[in-house]
């Protein structure tokens, strides 16, 4: 799998164009209560070999954005306006204009998505092997022996017992095994881009670590281009090169992982970081964000975060800020990002590892 991927890597560094570019993408769901504005004007470039984490709370539009890239949105959803450009081998297509048959090819070969709920992604009455074969054949890969060999290799890669899994029905596998099987299937056709929606949510801690380990190997050894979608900041901290924070359907901040975690410029990103404890790394006081997430049918005026924001002024109530460059490859949509910067000078964000050492020493002294 690495070969074609690496070749692609070189191509893209030569012509520098990102494999995926989203331009001003909007997604609405028509519901009885009204129009749910799930994604509102997302512009995003995904570069070859990078892993990007999309973080944000429940309902912020992360899954919707992922689904819009692979065109698997519910029929009630409308993508308008917006363009999603996909590039591979000098080829350039607008994903939103692909025909049904082109889409089928695109979904597994070019861009594969691993879903939030691993169980629903399987057909419950088919053994794993039959599903794999179906997927392969639908893409014109009919050499059963070759498919089987490759899939067995992939199962080994995701640290599963190949002979056991290949003949199993989905319900015979634990949640962690299903998630890993799904990851193996998604790699079958060597996609250029992998989108993983909540890859570790609802799994036990030790299983989460196994999955994180696997994704790290995909990233570091095979230089896969990946998007991780998660409400869990830890996934971003563990795996991402770049992080994008979503709030009310918008990317409100995007930047390199270290910048986002230690030098955030958006009050919402800062709020999330200050609300989440670490396990190791000392005892830290935590703060919650007041209020609750917005109603996507009746969004607040101006900056959608203003009702919960401690930096908000009248301007925030009236005008919605656009993403603005605040550092190297670091963008924030906040009128008052400089105030956030000042706030962080006064109260810097922990450096986890250093704190932990200090704490360990104090407990030794206390003894």
């Amino acid at each position: 799998m690495s070969k074609s991927n690496l070749e692609w890597q070189q191509d893209s560094t030569q012509n520098q164009k990102p494999p995926l570019s989203l331009q001003n993408v909007y997604v609405n769901y028509g519901t009885r209560k009204g129009n749910v504005q799930a994604v509102r004007g997302v512009t995003l470039d995904l570069y070859a070999g990078e892993s990007l984490a999309l973080i944000g709370e429940s309902g912020s539009g992360k899954t919707t954005l992922g689904l819009s890239i692979v065109r698997l949105l519910a029929s009630t959803a409308k993508v308008e306006p917006g363009t999603i450009i996909y590039r591979r081998d000098q080829r350039e297509v607008d994903v939103l204009k692909l025909s049904t048959s082109e889409l089928r090819q695109f979904r597994w070969r070019d861009c594969a998505m691993v879903f939030q709920s691993a169980l629903n992604a399987f057909n419950p009455v088919l053994r794993v092997w039959d599903q794999v074969l179906d997927t392969a054949q639908a893409h014109g890969w009919s050499d059963r022996t070759a498919v089987r060999e490759r899939f067995l290799d992939l199962l080994k890669f995701v640290q599963l017992d190949p002979t056991r899994v290949i003949n199993a029905y989905p319900h015979e596998l634990s949640g962690g095994m299903r998630q890993r099987t799904l990851l193996a299937i998604s790699l079958l056709l060597e996609p250029q881009i992998l989108i993983l929606d909540e890859p570790t949510t609802a799994l036990d801690i030790l299983t989460q670590r196994t999955i994180i380990g696997l994704l790290r190997r995909l990233k570091e050894e095979q230089h896969f281009t990946m998007i991780f979608i998660s409400h869990d900041l830890a996934i971003a901290a563990e795996l991402a090169d770049r992080v994008a924070t979503m709030y009310a359907g918008r990317i409100v901040e995007i930047g390199k992982t270290y910048d986002l975690f230690y030098q955030p410029r958006h009050p919402y990103t800062l709020g999330l970081i200050r609300a989440v404890p670490t396990v190791l790394g000392g005892f830290e006081e935590l703060f919650s964000i007041p209020g609750s997430p917005p109603d996507l049918v009746n969004l607040p005026s101006g900056c959608k975060f203003h009702p919960r924001c401690s930096f908000a002024t009248d301007k925030c109530k009236q005008q919605e800020p656009e993403l603005e460059e605040v550092g190297e490859r670091h963008f924030t949509a906040c009128w008052h990002w400089q105030d956030v910067e000042k706030e962080l000078e006064l109260h810097p964000i922990r450096r986890g590892a250093a704190k932990h050492d200090a704490l360990a020493q104090t407990t030794v002294e206390v003894r």
Binding site: S174, S288, R350, G352, H356, A360
Partner: protein, 331 residues
């Protein structure tokens, strides 16, 4: 001090014959009044079963549950009623436990009137307002006439806490009470619970699979780690987090994804010998962690069930091999 709740060699079996499993295996745990004890461990290790037995919602298969020093199996009706009221459970999914056809007003006033905690409707109304205030559902008048489905997950969880408070409990089992709530509001729920502990002398058994939450909530208290129905380690939270001794506790701490890139980079990786958690139907002999443990001593760990032994640094560890060995988890 007399523990408010004490479990003495409590076990729970489910099923019969070949299907019989030991979901909780001989747990002993005493919770002092005002203490915060946190039960952690992976899915299926017996946390909820233990919590339900402590709250008297599930009969024990063996052992005793003591409330204020008295065995609940020996209690008369009045004593049992006192115990039942004094101990309340708050569940993970408040939606399932709140009646969707009742307004918040009804949900809170009904138990007040039923348990004769107030004279009449007017007093019930007044008390309901106070309780909603305590759980930070303010302004109260915005919430009284709403139905559960009109509230967010975090707000519903506050309602179920307010409802638990109607009977003036002394002991609350909070079973994954904040796990389903968005991160941005989780902390305020936790802080609200801490306040109840301080202002209303409520003692907490806090159940969670999230070690970071356990650490934050129980920093002044104790963490108990369970694996396959047994207690494997227990101790004051700061000790347990910075100087865990049981190989399973260490593996958990090392495995937890950290919301801090620096820490994520510097965490030690612990390789276990086996990835899959054994089924309760086929429990390994001896220490049930031995098939996965990197420190196994053959002929010992796979034969003898380790007992919890106290360690000098605080708490106790069920691993004679490693109980006196510290390791660094941040490198």
């Amino acid at each position: 001090m007399v523990p408010i709740i004490e479990l003495k060699n409590v076990s729970k079996f489910f099923g019969h014959g070949k299907e019989r499993v030991t979901a909780v295996d001989s747990i002993s745990l005493a919770v002092e009044p005002g203490e915060i004890v946190c039960l952690v461990g992976e899915s299926g290790c017996g946390k909820s079963t233990t919590g339900r037995m402590a709250a008297g919602l599930l009969p024990v298969s063996a052992g005793q549950v003591l409330f204020d020093g008295k065995d609940i199996a020996q209690m008369n009706r009045d004593e049992l009623q006192t115990y039942r009221r004094a101990v309340q459970i708050v569940h993970q999914d408040p939606y399932a436990s709140l009646n969707p056809t009742q307004t918040i007003r009804d949900i809170i006033t009904a138990p007040l009137l039923h348990h004769k905690k107030v004279k009449d409707r007017t007093h019930a109304e007044k008390r309901a307002r106070e309780l909603l205030e305590i759980v930070d559902l303010t302004p109260v008048h915005d919430f009284m006439d709403k139905y559960p489905h009109q509230l967010s997950g975090g707000q519903r969880q506050r309602v179920s806490v307010a409802r638990a408070l109607t009977v003036e409990p002394k002991f609350i089992v909070a079973d994954e009470a904040v796990s389903m709530v968005d991160v941005s509001i989780r902390v305020s729920l936790l802080n609200m619970l801490s306040r109840l502990k301080n202002e209303f002398d409520v003692t907490f058994l806090f159940i969670t699979h999230d070690l970071a939450l356990a650490k934050y909530f129980a920093w002044q208290g104790r963490i108990v780690v369970m694996y396959l129905g047994r207690m494997v380690e227990e101790g004051p939270t700061p000790r347990l987090i910075t100087d865990a001794r049981h190989p399973y506790t260490q593996a958990l701490l090392a495995a937890v994804p950290e919301a801090d890139p620096e820490l994520a980079q510097h965490k030690r990786q612990i390789e276990l010998r086996g990835a899959e958690i054994p089924s309760l139907l086929h429990l390994p002999l001896g220490c049930t962690f031995h098939p996965r443990c990197p420190y196994i001593v053959e002929g010992q760990c796979d034969v003898h069930v380790p007992r919890l032994e106290a360690i000098r640094e605080g708490g106790s560890v069920a691993c004679p091999v490693r109980k006196d060995e510290s390791i660094q988890l941040v490198v």
